[in-house]
């Protein structure tokens, strides 16, 4: 058993982890259950998080690998109690049904809009290739991301 310390959403998260424990397991065991496990096989994106600002599937990384790194989970997206524009847009544009994919989708959208502030619809759809939603048919998810991008661009948040 190793002792791991990761900066999660700006706070130090420290605890024991076996070398084989996945990041998603470590996060969830420490109460951060907004990061979901959908497929266990690195396909669905329900477990998306940002590591040092980069999008990864937290079921593909070992917790011990993340020692000293900085992780953002869905719990860290809202700032100061106010929803992030992407969260607000998923809420306002019905970008969810069962909601199980939602945290992963929002994290993916965050990563996309960090690197491309004005994505086209095709770019959004291509970027979401690693994130599965079984309910919505993606239509409202894409609409929500487009709306969030516009708002963030205009600084009108």
């Amino acid at each position: 058993m190793d002792f791991v310390s990761i900066s999660v959403n700006g706070t130090e998260l420290a605890g024991p982890a076996e070398p084989r424990n996945l990041l998603v397991e470590f996060l969830r065991a420490n109460g951060l259950t907004g990061t979901h496990v959908g497929c266990d096989t690195s396909q669905c994106g329900a477990c998306n998080v940002l590591v040092d600002g980069k999008l990864i599937k937290s079921c593909t990384a070992f917790a011990v690998e993340l020692q000293g790194r900085s992780v953002t989970t869905i719990e860290g997206v809202a700032v100061g109690g106010a929803l992030h524009p992407i969260q607000r847009a998923f809420h306002d544009y019905h970008g969810l049904q069962c909601g199980f994919c939602t945290p992963g989708m929002i994290i993916a959208a965050l990563a996309l809009l960090q690197e491309n502030t004005k994505p086209t619809e095709d770019e959004i759809r291509a970027f979401l290739a690693g994130s599965i939603c079984r309910c919505t048919g993606y239509q409202n998810i894409v609409t929500a991301i487009q709306a969030a991008a516009e708002q963030m661009e205009s600084g009108n948040v």
């Binding site: 907004g34 969260q87 998923f90 049904q97 759809r125 979401l128």
Partner: protein, 778 residues
Amino acid sequence: MTRHEPLDLKKAEISGGVATDRRHDSAHKHVTGEAVYIDDMAEPAGTLHAYLGLSTVAHGIIKSMDLGAVAAAPGVVAVLTHEDVPGTNDISPAGLDDEPIFAPDKVQFLGQPVFAVVAETREQARRACSLARIEYEDLPALIDIAEAGEDARLVTKPLTLQRGSVGPALQAAPRRISGRMRVGGQDHFYLEGQIAFAMPGEDQDVTVHSSTQHPSEVQHMVAHALGAPSHAVTVEVRRMGGGFGGKETQANLFAAVAAIAAKKTGRPVKIRPDRDDDMTATGKRHDFLIDYDVGFDEEGRILGVDFTYSARCGFSADLSGPVTDRALFHCDNTYYYPSVRAISRPLYTNTVSNTAFRGFGGPQGMLGAERIIDEVAFALGRDPLEIRKRNLYGETDRNVTPYHQTVEDSEAARVIEELEISAGYADRRREIAEFNERSPIVKRGIALTPVKFGISFTATHFNQAGALVHVYTDGSIHLNHGGTEMGQGLYVKVAQIVAEEFQVDIEQVKITATTTGKVPNTSATAASSGSDLNGMAAQNAARQIKDRLIDFATGQYEVPKEQIEFLPGRVRVGNQEIPFAELVRQAYMARIQLSAAGFYKTPKIHWNRDKGKGRPFYYFAYGAACSEVSVDTLTGEYVVERTDILHETGRSLNRAIDIGQIEGGFIQGMGWLTTEELVWDDKGRLRTHAPSTYKIPLASDRPKIFNVELADWGENREKTVHRSKAVGEPPFMLAMSVLHALSDAVASVAGHKICPRLDAPATPERVLMAVERLRAEG
């Protein structure tokens, strides 16, 4: 709560009433990750984890089973086999005693649960499972229904629907074609997998948190397995991360195992299979072989059809009876057959037991109807849309279905006509012909297909629902009903109905988790019936309380009933207006009961299965879709260029939610008909047991142009809740337009003279094979 907010006695409208685009009730929690699914619940100290040991052969006698190493593995607290089931080792929802929790002496499919390990951690339980040593004596296994003989075993009683004499009609018909269609199955891939979490209580009690669409059935199954009365078992579900039918009966196994383990160890037990096991061990949409023989005239009018629908049911009946029945109920789609016979063959196979999936056999049934339309059209060299329109049910005659229900509410002609215009069908058909003329390799195709879907459970007794409404003295309202929330927006719709009744803001209505302790003997949230049934039951409960409040106010203020009216946030009593909460408080002081159990049962329906006659459906839901595709005829790869949908949801309770159901249903249907292919090898091993090998639609797999409209003229002709219509399943079948557009594109390589007989899923490989066959024959 509104209690501390200033009261607005002039308010013109409540927030979140009926027919508003209210958001999903948990939207704000989903976007922050705060919404709690079962796996997110805080685990009480001492929680154990169970994992299933699955069979490794498709059909075999268990010769020996050595679980010694399993029991001795680190962290293992208990190992369960069929001998550890205190009650009955059976979870057959059909009551046929054909579905053991743990296989006792023989396994009947590869992936069947044989034992379970209970350990301190999930990882320990999972690892211990792999240490089992089980020897099997192989028995012959039937995997593929195409290999089933004439006298093959059925899992349940087949159904025959018959009207007119089909034999003579076929013989007399000027034209006649027979053929066979293969329709694939589908994995639900609910994003949240199966899960149950059982907490032992005192006496025989156990509380099970189960990701289920059917808490009452889970309750009965757990009680049955424990040998306890139903009152000892409480099943609760706040939300599911998707269901689609896959958690109607398939949740039973996990709940039963968790409950048995919890009672045995005296500790809370959670079970969550990983995705590969979930896909291997739980049932899916039935794949079908549809044999058809159709007679028609030179104008393309169908004169008679003989259908046989054979389904791969798996090793047990599960819901295969009602699923195959519903396939027959939809073998007509929107078309009138002057004479018809349709037979179901629910075949026993050594595969996982197939189950409910959005549409419940209806989609497979309809594909048979649409295939014969294609056959007739290509045989006569006509546009399939012309043949579709020619065969629609009539308003006053030609309107009796194969099950002898009269179609009284046909909207198909109107929906088709409006969509034909809004999608510009005729012009595009011409343009496509011109394009194909010029384009030797890429071929385009277009199709407009209608949907008519029967609403009601075909087992009449399931068409009932209960609700429980409490009004507290501060005017806040507690709402509970038998329906479950799997993302479809049922909770918010029912809350809208209750808010509307009391004329209070929806924020004042607390939506609470579905539990067998509050509303008993409920039906599955299935058959698209959720809002129809539970909405009515909740409305009934609210009205009982309202009536008591009205009676109270009549006496207290000495005004006649007619002068009492529920206005937004207040009640007008004669000349004065009293805030809702104030009236409630007064009623409480006067000892008026402020709680009610509501009930509803669907009127008019009846069904005699032996005779194949009745009115199984209260009403029909209609829609149509027009899709255009382009196909690369060298590779079979294709793109959906555009889809236009017009769907009718009556007077929609919530247009935003309904449109979400249509978009999601369509894409899921398109996945079923295009990319989602289940493959079992000849040993009965499912080779597509993860999304890496089983292709779920992604964000990029969609029509490039996608227009979805609700028919704004819609109104249910029957007295449903606020005259709305069910919307969960019907849109799924709009995806047939994609399959038929592909068929149309393929047909173009042989001048639209040969029916491509494209089977589903129309993967690029199948499309390519069809192209090559037509090129060779054409």
